[in-house]
Amino acid sequence: MTSSRSALSIYGEKAIEWLIRICGVSAIIFVFAIFFFVFREGAPFLADEKFSLWKFLTSTEWYPTSMSNIRYGTFALIAGTLSVTGVAMLIAVPFGLGAAIFVSEFCTGKLREFLKVIIELLAAIPSIVWGFIGLTVMNPVIQTVFHVQVGLNVLNAAILLALMSIPVMVSIGEDALKAVPDSYREAAIALGATRWQLIWRALLPAAKNGLLAAVLLGVGRAVGETMAVLMATGHAVNVPHSIFDSVRTLTATIAAELGEASEGSPHYRVLFLIGILLFTITFIVNLVADFVVKGIKNK
């Protein structure tokens, strides 16, 4: 048998191998390129004598365009982002995972297909539309239901963010649950587990990595979301004391002010520093989640 392959097919294979390698490496390149760009724009200001990193992180005074005394304190913005994200997750995680469990384990046939289409539709709504809903629908609703003066606040934005991240959680979470082999279900059922015990004691442990990924994608969406929170938070620099306080987030600040800051000015550089801050927050979230997953695995 003469089975020596032609030179062409060998080179073809090599070429495909390289192509795939480039695809894989490109993700790394992009991340570093973005990181480099943001850093290049923001970093020079770190060395400026008027700038104090401690003040930048802990001061609540954000007056980037003050005539007499310019102050760049982002603590209120950080608090705004974290409070909105946190409340959003309090709403989204139970609802999202609950919906994922419902769609994956309890739904059959038509209802299931219908629900999945609706949920995907929910994911396709542009964020500006969500912001519009926050401004014109949720605002008066919150004012009348909770008897507060301003309806544009943490709660308003958190509900919007929850609704925006739930579809992502549901579809990823449902995939994770569907990936659990039926033999697990069969085994748990044969051991006399009720439906609830099956889900709680067998399915959730089996799917926990995927479910965690679902939650993380939701968090990522919430931290990074800009337009809807810009419109729904009230955009007031303020450390919130209740969910009815108006706040301003890191992302919204960049979006609102970058257009007006002249390129290369201190204000411009500080906005890029905020970008680095956002980067750091999502990085820490991912890192923590990674450790959590590894911790569970090694147990």
Binding site: A187, L191, Q197, R201
Partner: protein, 252 residues
């Protein structure tokens, strides 16, 4: 006359439009080991899943006929979870749940509401010993059950099936992934367990049925070809020629 432990009457089962069990009837006596042999696709596993009513879990199945456990119609039992706890099931492919070894064995007792730690630990140890697994895992009860080797996982599922002290133990080709020495150890355990429970042993190893079962049932294409004393099926003159051919490996 003693009430049979399990009575199957005119059982029919179909997946969608395809009927896989064509109206079979037989009894299983208390404290006997019933061997069930037969080629793949003959309905053995489906039969077991009908008995513990996990078949209902699969969409599109239709079952008719009656199955009685201790004279009580299983279809009319309201506490289906209670029924499943009375039946231990060992699946052919080992399914260690993605939990620790300890939690795997403690799953059913916990589901039934047992919470006392020392009681649970004693039970887990007893079951793991019975399944000939204790010595290999006693130092790492906290590690994942799914990390065990195939044979160990299989014994883990046996320990798990024993954990809820079943009245009926269904073994579905339990020895596929287990070496012959361990298989013999488990077979000895089964002979002991026979005093306390009724055992249904589905096996591809016809000699295993011969070693353990007092009576053996030969199934083929969803029908019972022959059911009788094991010696009769394995002797020179079984009632059906197909039985003779199958147990002697000259089938088809």
């Amino acid at each position: 006359m003693v009430t049979p432990k399990v009575q199957v009457e005119n059982l029919r089962l179909s997946y969608g439009s395809k009927e896989v069990i064509h109206g079979i009837s037989f009894d299983i006596e208390p404290n006997e080991i019933l061997g069930i042999i037969g080629p793949a696709q003959s309905g053995k596993t489906s039969l077991l899943r009908c008995i513990n009513r996990t078949m209902e879990f699969t969409a599109g199945t239709k079952m008719s006929g009656t199955i009685r456990v201790d004279g009580e119609d299983t279809a009319k039992m309201r506490d289906v979870y209670g029924l499943r706890r009375r039946i231990g099931m060992v699946a052919p492919l080992p399914v260690g749940l993605p939990l620790s070894i300890y939690d795997n064995v403690a799953f059913a007792p916990r589901a039934a509401g047992m919470n006392n730690k020392s009681e649970l630990s004693a039970l887990v140890e007893k079951c793991l010993r019975q399944a000939a697994l204790w010595d290999e895992v006693k130092d790492r009860l906290d590690s994942l059950g799914t990390k065990l080797s195939g044979g160990q996982q299989q014994r883990l599922t046996i320990a798990r099936a024993l954990s809820h002290s079943p009245e009926i133990l269904c073994l579905d080709e339990f020895s596929i992934a287990i070496d012959p020495v361990t298989t013999m150890r488990i077979e000895d355990v089964l002979k002991e367990l026979k005093k306390d429970m009724t055992i249904i042993l589905v096996t591809n190893l016809v000699q295993q049925a011969r070693r353990l079962a007092a009576r053996t049932m030969f199934m083929w294409n969803g029908e019972i070809i022959e059911l009788g004393p094991t010696e009769q099926l394995f002797g020179d003159n079984p009632k059906d020629k197909r039985t003779h051919d199958y147990v002697n490996g000259i089938f088809g």
